[in-house]
């Protein structure tokens, strides 16, 4: 039998991961160095990616090394950046000053619940930075130092930052419970931005960033490759429905530019969701276009720095302008919508060359996107369904017993809660909610957000995914749930592993895969397969009967 490695889920025994002691050790946290055990950290950025982006200190190194090959004046560099960020973000200043360590956030983090490492309590994660802030930037801290919670900026602190700020998925769950709204995502962003000044980043984020910069998407799909991919999807769609689709690409003068995370182009089950979008647009006759240049809705710049986020996001408006579209629709993705909802207009707007989004089918004007000119696909589809513009046969999904995972960012940075639920209830007859403390604004992260969803980080992904996975298992046992729907590309990639591990038998699906499977298209042939090319339960029997007669 082959030995399993720390980057495979089989390496970890469930009984062992479930042995969680939420009680911290005896010794204080201040002097405990981070334990870089395999499976709990992510490979560092390859120098070529930093070079292509013009970012500091490209070199070959590993967090397991003693020497991280930092510039001589690394303390000075961090201090300077720290000061700059304190001057740029009121959030950072207030979050440094106001925490009372009440502990309400402590057991709200999925990494703490699933692992018990005290530095994964949001309060301590923030203290890793706050202790340096006290020591270096406050008068009292400069005088009293350690006695009032200050710490000197040492190499161990930098290592600890690297370890723990790449163990935060920026999911904002702690921020819901904090009486002062302290948002650890914000602190993690600041810490990562500081670390990047020393060339400390992870390849799983920076390679997509470099790809996105050059090819327009995280996966590095070149224009002709994207065309092939979409045409390949259309072949499958034709097999399932008998309907032929020609995907519009870089089409000038289209009414709508459609942008989705590139994960939907590459990996199942995201690909099925992508087919779902295409079938929907075909069915309603939407005049839209894909773009190969702005072929990424997701934005790993969000996990890097404000400038990199802006750099990658800029292409969406630029392309909308070049193509002369009226407005933009965005696909199902989590952190993509954090950027589109809370950052895009501020960074790269005003989008005064676009129109306020108006559904050509229902006439609904999306006033909530009056300035950004970009709407979420579930807002668009929910409106279509409400106006009876889609012919739906939910019975087609009767073999599916579905639950819905609110993705962190649409839930806590947007409030997109009812739109996907309305759609699911319209296209499925069997929908069951997970327990209330694990959905909506209290939803649990998949454990792989903010650039942590890579296999070498498997232990942390399984631990971080445990609260979500356990809630899925609960509805699996109680209601026989067999599919988990979500509106996030990272979820569609990482929750597959989480479900296989914590709730085996539950598949992951996008909302628009469910829509497309239930949608009765004009001129379609009788459906015998779903989009995964799996035979539908009734169809199998029918075929057998046909054979007998």
């Amino acid at each position: 039998m082959a030995e399993h490695k720390p980057d495979q889920m089989e390496f970890y025994k469930q009984e062992e991961l479930q042995q969680i002691d939420l009680n911290p050790p005896k010794e204080g946290w201040q002097d405990q160095p981070a334990d870089f055990r395999p499976g709990s950290w992510i490979y560092p950025t390859k120098p070529k990616h930093l070079e292509s982006l013009g970012m500091p200190n490209p070199r070959e190194w590993s967090p397991a090394d003693e020497d991280w090959q930092l510039p001589e004046n690394w303390q000075e560099i961090i201090h300077k950046k720290f000061k700059e960020l304190l001057g740029k973000y009121r959030s950072f200043r207030i979050f440094m000053d106001t925490c009372v360590r009440c502990g309400a956030c402590a057991d709200k983090c999925h990494f703490f619940i699933g692992g018990g490492d005290p530095k994964n309590m949001p309060v301590l994660r923030a203290e890793l930075v706050r202790s340096i802030y006290r020591n270096d930037f406050t008068t009292v801290g400069k005088i009293l130092g350690r006695a009032c919670g200050g710490r000197k900026l040492t190499m161990d602190v930098i290592k600890e930052w690297f370890y723990y700020f790449y163990q935060c998925t920026e999911c904002r769950r702690c921020s819901v419970f904090c009486p002062y709204g302290i948002d650890t995502a914000e602190i993690t962003m600041m810490a990562r931005e500081m670390l990047h000044e020393l060339g400390l980043g992870v390849n799983w984020i920076m390679e997509p960033v470099a790809n996105c910069h050059r090819t327009g998407n995280h996966l590095g799909i070149q224009p002709h490759g994207l065309k092939d991919t979409l045409e390949f999807f259309c072949e499958d769609i034709e097999d399932v429905t008998g309907i032929h689709i020609d995907p519009p690409i870089n089409k000038k003068g289209a009414e709508v530019l459609f942008v989705t995370p590139s994960g939907d182009f590459l990996a199942d089950p995201g690909t099925f969701t992508c087919m779902g979008y295409m079938m929907l647009f075909e069915e309603i006759g939407l005049d839209y276009t894909w773009s190969t240049y702005a072929s990424e809705g997701g934005n790993f710049g969000l996990f890097t720095s404000a400038d990199v986020m802006k750099k990658l996001n800029a292409k969406i408006y630029a392309e909308a302008k070049r193509l002369g579209v009226k407005y933009i629709i965005g696909g199902e993705c989590g952190h993509m919508w954090r950027v589109l909802n809370q950052y895009m207009d501020t960074m790269n707007g005003p989008a005064d060359f676009l129109d306020v989004p108006k559904s050509p089918i229902t006439g609904t004007v999306f006033e909530n996107s009056r300035s950004t000119k970009m709407i979420h696909i579930t807002e668009f589809t929910a409106d279509l369904i409400k106006h009876g513009k889609l012919k739906l046969d939910p019975k087609m999904n009767d073999h599916v017993r579905v639950t819905f995972h609110d993705s962190c960012n649409p839930a806590r940075a947007m409030g997109l809660l009812e739109e996907p639920r309305y759609i699911i209830n319209s296209v499925c007859n069997n929908f069951h909610e997970m327990p209330e403390n694990t959905i909506r604004e209290q939803t649990f992260c998949c454990g792989g957000g903010a650039g942590l969803g890579t296999d070498e980080n498997m232990e942390m992904r399984l631990r971080g995914g445990m609260p979500r996975g356990t809630a899925v298992r609960h509805v699996q046992e109680k209601y026989d749930v067999n599919q988990l729907a979500c509106v996030c590309a990272i979820d569609r990639a990482t929750l597959v592993t989480v479900c296989d591990y914590w709730a085996p038998g539950v598949q992951v699906t996008g909302v628009h895969e469910l829509v497309a499977n239930a949608m009765v298209m004009k001129g379609q042939k009788e459906r015998t397969m779903n989009l995964r090319l799996e035979p539908l339960p009734g169809a199998e029997e029918k075929e057998a009967n046909d054979g007998e007669s």
Binding site: G87, A106, V140, C148, G349
Partner: protein, 329 residues
Amino acid sequence: MTAILALGAILILILLAGFGSQVAGLQVVFGVAVPYAAIALFLGGLVFKVMSWARTPVPFRIPTTCGQQKTLDWIPSARFDNPHTTLGVIGRMALEVLFFRSLFRNTKVDIRPGGRIIHTPAKWLWAAALAFHYSFLVIFIRHLRFFTEPVPGFVKAIQSVDSFFEIGVPSIFLTSFLLLGALGFLLLRRLVSPQLRYISLANDYFPLFLLIAIGTTGVLMRHFQKTDIETIKAVAMGILSFSPVTAGGGALFTIHFFLVCVLFAVFPYSKLMHMAGVFMSPTRNMANTNRAKRHINPWNHPVAFRTYEEYEDDFRDKMKAAGIPVEKE
């Protein structure tokens, strides 16, 4: 260890004031210098800190949304938990400041054998926090009777409500004991819960011990070692009118008064600034009008990105071969 450090600091402060009250020459220090220094440190620090926050830009609109957004007309939105109007934000802030809305959501996680994760509501922290803060507010208002002549009606009214039960002579104030009870709970949970003990700093124990000492000396003065109220009022009025009186008032009063001065002095330099910070937290005091109204970032500097022209130059041949339209043939 951190708790002992904080307790030690408080004991030293108590001894200092106790000693000061016995030495005639030091009465000027404790009755005049200390209160004015405390007021200066309080006001100066508070203004400086709040100004430093206010001067720092809010580059992005980043509310933490805790309910349904405002989108389609037929989907009801969460007016306060995900506000999209100024009125909604005021409502959200009022719920936060007056009723500790976010803390009310608190849950406790238990992991059962077999890996079952149980979330149960946990309201004790919320209840104790609310009890402490409101008691403190009432006590603060009650104390205005020492600083005003004539004493305003609302101060008298609050005082009479607070001593409603008329137990003892002088009758006890409900809030004095509520305050001490709540503080006791907040201290005990820090000492007993292993997680809280782990995250607690001396900075967390110090204000707790300080407030407990202030509350205890206050109760002692009212009910056990009765202190002459007229003398105290003369001291208080003297400070306010910038003609300080150094007429003592006894050891207990000196300690009580000194500790209150310490509370004011450390306030702006400690976590107690959460009082001001809660009003300015960008995840709570902004409306989720993100896509409807453009938010301006004052330092939004230009960032170079790869233009379409550069992209097409790189991939033109491949695009043409695949039949994808290009700008330049």
